[in-house]
Symmetry: C2
Subunit: 453 residues, 2 copies
Amino acid sequence: MIIEDIMDKEEILELIKGGSVDISKLKILLSDMNPVDIAEILEGLEIEKVLHLFRILPKALASEVFSHMDADNQQSIVEALSDSEIGEIVNKLFVDDAVDFIEEMPANVVKRVLQNVPFAKRKIINQILQYPDDSAGSIMTTEYIDLREDATVSEAFDTIRSIGLNKETIYNCYVIKKDRLLTGHVSAKTLMLADPDEKIADIMDTNVVFANTTEDRETIADQFKKYNLLAMPVVDMEQRLVGIITVDDIVDVIVEESTEDIEKMAAIMPSEDSYLKTSIFQHSKNRFLWMLILMLSATITGYIISSFEKGFMVLPILMSFIPMLMNTGGIAGSQSSTLIIRGLAVGEIELKDIFLILWKEFRVGLLCGLGLGIVNFIRVFIFYRNDVMLCLTITLSLLFTILMAKTIGSVLPIFAKRLKIDPAIMSAPLLTTIVDALSLVIYFSFAKMIFGL
Amino acid sequence: MIIEDIMDKEEILELIKGGSVDISKLKILLSDMNPVDIAEILEGLEIEKVLHLFRILPKALASEVFSHMDADNQQSIVEALSDSEIGEIVNKLFVDDAVDFIEEMPANVVKRVLQNVPFAKRKIINQILQYPDDSAGSIMTTEYIDLREDATVSEAFDTIRSIGLNKETIYNCYVIKKDRLLTGHVSAKTLMLADPDEKIADIMDTNVVFANTTEDRETIADQFKKYNLLAMPVVDMEQRLVGIITVDDIVDVIVEESTEDIEKMAAIMPSEDSYLKTSIFQHSKNRFLWMLILMLSATITGYIISSFEKGFMVLPILMSFIPMLMNTGGIAGSQSSTLIIRGLAVGEIELKDIFLILWKEFRVGLLCGLGLGIVNFIRVFIFYRNDVMLCLTITLSLLFTILMAKTIGSVLPIFAKRLKIDPAIMSAPLLTTIVDALSLVIYFSFAKMIFGL
């Protein structure tokens, strides 16, 4: 909840909708608001009104509001603004926000934006745009505070005061020596609690968790989680400080990585855009391949069923249990693989735990299999004229299917990880195919054995 | 990566393993290290060595290391320490860490810990323990800095310096008036950049995003994401400031909530503990219910298959396509439901988007269905002696099954959400049951129509 804001929003919307806009009143209301909320208000309006409001905002606030708008609105605004206005807004953006914005724009807009940004800023933006997607370099920003080892605490405060207003975070200052080599870290907390005459070198922490520009953003998110960081410095190949990553961007990374894992587990190729913004062709493309693979791999189960045709002719009732066995096996396997994939992703499970896991899943499978077997035995016994042989066939098949599915479901992700294949993407189609085929083999083997088919 | 640490870790392990331990050297090495890394080193050692190392740590560092250890190690340590040592360590913990620790301990340990903590701290811990799981109150801490409206900036700095060392975050100070009512917020950045004589009331931001103690932690995580917060104040029913929530705990909440959603989507009841720490009975309990429901609901598909027995006797080949149709339908439906469930969870999709989504999924289903249909037609045509009637039956069934699965898969989570049921938990079993049954109905209808069975 936010103090004051709810009233403000309605007042502003009213002021805007009522034709005659009291600009001075609007200005006061808006300048008190959180830029995120202003961006939200603007997103609901027509472009003329957006531009009108946007122009009455103080320049610094305008840039911040701009960075919180969605790509469509950003594009509309940029297309309506003059060259110099664009330059001013983008120049005031933090570098990481500017890069995020530019990455979403079509080529012609990007060209116009970059042309109007001052040279120094353009150079930095271009540099960051060149880092590979998902690398530390691509999510870092260059607004940070660096201090010299031989500076004093009071000199540090002067530095912060003189340049701090434009830095994304001033709570973590990084200490560098000659050639910008990173040597340490001082938090604002340490500075505030220190004697003004102390040297930075004496109070700095030399134990700095840092990233290389090319490091994977998921690894970095893990370090943020492990060390409870608010920011992390980024260095280049020569250990020179080039940027920082802040926790708010890491929160986004964590959410995006979870979404990607969830999509992969559901046999979907991860999409960069949100669901509604992804075109139907892209959606179809993301889903088609795995559907095709699953459809074709089901040929195997088809053949297994065909091979048992004679058995069905003698005892047609056996057909009707196929979906039950395949579905229960499928869910048993995907439960196991899901838990292992997620455990591997969040670091709770390691490759060396494979035997622990196998033993655990075997016992869980036994417990669940026995429980379900009993329910199933009773059910089949009642519904199918006390046919003990049939009960036995179905129940034994069910128990062995569950045991098989749980063990395969648990080791498959670990094998994938060991082979450096993404466990999430491997499991759904491969697991389904194997479990389906084997559950039928188990079923028909018991049927042949018990009924002598 | 961490400067220096890798060498330190090995040195320390060597020092510890080599019987004669040079305590003064160890002390120096350890006091330079990150507490998270010390906790990691300790977790690999036997309890005697853990205790030995633990006792040579400076008290403040010992508490921090303790808060980063896992529950098993914490329990071993507490059981080996004296009453007064326990009191000292727990008293030095931040309240939220103390609560996390106590929640993991068995009753007898909890009793002993609480008996040895000073009264004031015990009272606060007991209060926080009483907040419902997943509420703001349960994840907040009571170490924060509050300032009076009429204080000056320099007085604020004095406050921070005198009490700041024990506060979990000093970068966000909260402003209160009479009766501790929350009225505003001042960041350390604002304080550092302000004139020392200015009044807090004049520089504070009255637009504060805050939480109530009973608010759901997922809602709060959404606010952190939306406003890029580092901390959020928590107030009671009378708007009195009672605590703060910090971003590091929110990162944990986001990861845990994603894990819960993933487990629910895989038809598993979410577990509090990690995979390896959950007992096999708990694992079985978490998975049994949905397996049972799926197994029993497969009775429906069994009946549908039995009802078509005569058709199979005439044309046994029809049997072998059942797994292919059911699996392709299943994956088509779960792809759609997964995207919608995740979209709802991260706030990209809202209930009002239902018609947009239906129309989108229908077209995606049509595209995928036509693509798969063509592949399938060719495959069946080649493998089954150019039987056009069979090709047509299978291909039409496939197309309609995919269309049906995609539309049902997309609207089911939205209906669930509208009925205030968790979409993640609803979808797997219900969707599978509906899609399986309907895909068979579609298949047999086409078979009857085309072959006149």
